[in-house]
Symmetry: C2
Subunit: 333 residues, 2 copies
């Protein structure tokens, strides 16, 4: 592949002139023409590696996340990538499989690649910014990491508390008091927030925790399925179910279908995130959806700000949206 040297020779100018012309510094008209032609003739493409070395910036941000086979994450990356690409950055994706050791290795890898910034959905639990990213501009997504005020990192996530609060109100307003809630692992941040939001709304309406049937487990289809079956088998089963994540929603829907229960008839159902499943269901499900696209965009924009040296330390909560289907109805007493 042609180098800038060969272009210079063919054009009869110095490499400095070629470089300047290609980077927008003014050169003599005749030279510009000659360079242009040489570039075309040799199909010259500047070596970004050499460029990156000299400029000590490769215009790359790392993205560190648990999995690639999960639309929640990939839709976020998609938005992140759109924003970053527009500003000339490329995106280097690394998968952790939720393994802390692997996470550390991949992070090391990204640092060796001299990334300019990081977008991370960290797995490591009780971690602060410094141990994860050092002094790298970083935006955490769907996680809150202890954020030094004005430091080089921020967080972007849905307002999980408000989402669950709203969900509870939705169900209570319809007349439910005996509600089953399917939560993710207690070790994660978001399930705790969702639990807290839900409980807050309930207690405000005088519904004690003892009437609630809260279950927590993995974020998986199987867990959702299992927990739903458990709840349905209770002597006094709940009149409404709230599944707080995509996988739990899928599992729950499956269990209901198997039990011959139509959401909104035998029991009310409030799901999370899976817009498509909600639409395709009959009747359509009521679901709370996270603004994935906006989360991605916001994270990318905040990261660009951090890279530009502006202070971070923000925690950006984005509102969720409730898509009303017909799966939340009055309870049959």
């Amino acid at each position: 592949m042609a180098t800038i040297r060969e272009v210079a020779r063919l054009a009869g100018v110095s490499v400095a002139t070629v470089s300047k012309y290609l980077n927008g510094t003014k050169v003599r008209e005749a030279n510009a023409r000659a360079v242009e032609e040489a570039v075309r003739a040799l199909d010259f493409k500047p070596n970004e590696i050499a460029r990156g070395l000299r400029k000590s910036s490769v215009m790359t941000v790392g993205v560190l996340l648990p999995e690639l086979d999960n639309l929640f994450f990939t839709e976020i990356i998609s938005a992140v990538d759109s924003v970053l690409e527009e500003r000339g950055y490329s995106t280097l994706v690394c998968v952790t499989h939720s393994d802390p050791e692997r996470e550390q290795r991949r992070l090391d890898f990204l640092r060796r690649k001299r990334i300019d910034g990081l977008i991370a959905v960290p797995t490591t639990a009780a971690s602060d910014f410094a141990t994860i990213a050092g002094d790298l501009p970083t935006v955490f997504v769907d996680r809150v990491v202890s954020v030094p005020p004005g430091g080089k990192c921020s967080s972007v996530l849905s307002d999980n508390f408000a989402a669950a609060y709203g969900a509870a109100e939705e169900l209570i307003r319809a007349g439910h008091t005996r509600i089953g809630v399917l939560l993710g692992p207690d070790s994660n941040y978001t399930p705790l927030e969702r639990r807290a939001g839900f409980l807050a709304a309930c207690s405000l309406h005088g519904i004690g925790a003892e009437k609630l049937l809260i279950r927590s487990g993995e974020y998986s289809i199987e867990a959702g399925y299992r927990m739903t079956r458990e709840l349905l088998r209770l002597p006094d089963p709940p009149t409404a179910l709230f599944a707080t994540n995509n996988e739990l929603t899928i599992g729950s829907v499956k269990a209901l279908a198997e039990a011959g229960i139509t959401a909104g008839e035998g029991i009310s159902f409030l799901g999370f995130d899976n817009r498509t499943l909600a639409e395709v269901s009959h009747p359509p499900l009521t679901v709370i959806v996270q603004p994935v696209e906006e989360i991605g965009r916001t994270a990318a924009e905040e990261l660009l700000r951090l890279i530009d040296g502006e202070p971070g330390g923000k925690i950006l909560h984005l509102p969720t949206e409730t898509i009303r289907g017909a799966s939340v109805t009055n309870p049959i007493i």
Copy 2:
């Protein structure tokens, strides 16, 4: 961030020694120790950019695909990434949004990054390898591109012909002769293969094309929905439906649900790809699933072979799998 020079100084050796030690060449025990310690003390991480420049290989492969918000693609990337990472390669993902111009720009970008190989789901239609990738080792996924025998590229995809052939047999065996088929755009390669496979099986069983109700349109939920409604409204509607892609399947399921038709009772249904929807449906759907994980792995392995200089020119067809639910039954005459 520390450089190899500072490590050398602190360890009291030359940069050559540091480099050698870190790259596995034997050095004196005492020096090894000193380097080790200096590396730790300075938290030295080799600059992969400088390294890449000198070695003229950055151990990176590009991935060029239409979208990131589609599990079919992201599951493939996931597998690709696993295989490549194990061999020390990183994956640089670029999205084309199915826009040929953008595809060209992103490809240019990847070449400037001096990637060692490419995995591509090209959008550009009638294109041959040379115009897309030049002499870059390339594996095309879910597309067949005119492959120079022994050249530096190969293709990996499902055996779409066989999949559709099998689908037709499945339905014919159950007794259906009046079958509605939902296909993707005629301008793509895979819909044509699927159509051909389906027709081949039908004609073998003496079912003329005139009895079939073949519709083609976009690969979208809306198209699937629309085409299904059209078919259901016919004076003599089909007794079975075959949706040939994930989105078409979703749209079709939605239309059926809305029409109050249960797949496998009023009408038989054969879907594609969406394992989760198939499982969660009631009754579970019979679907043909593509071996996404294996497609990804195979593509990555083939690419590694090409990068190692072995000849390409292969077209690798991987068998699909039929997951039998209860949505294909005998027709009610």
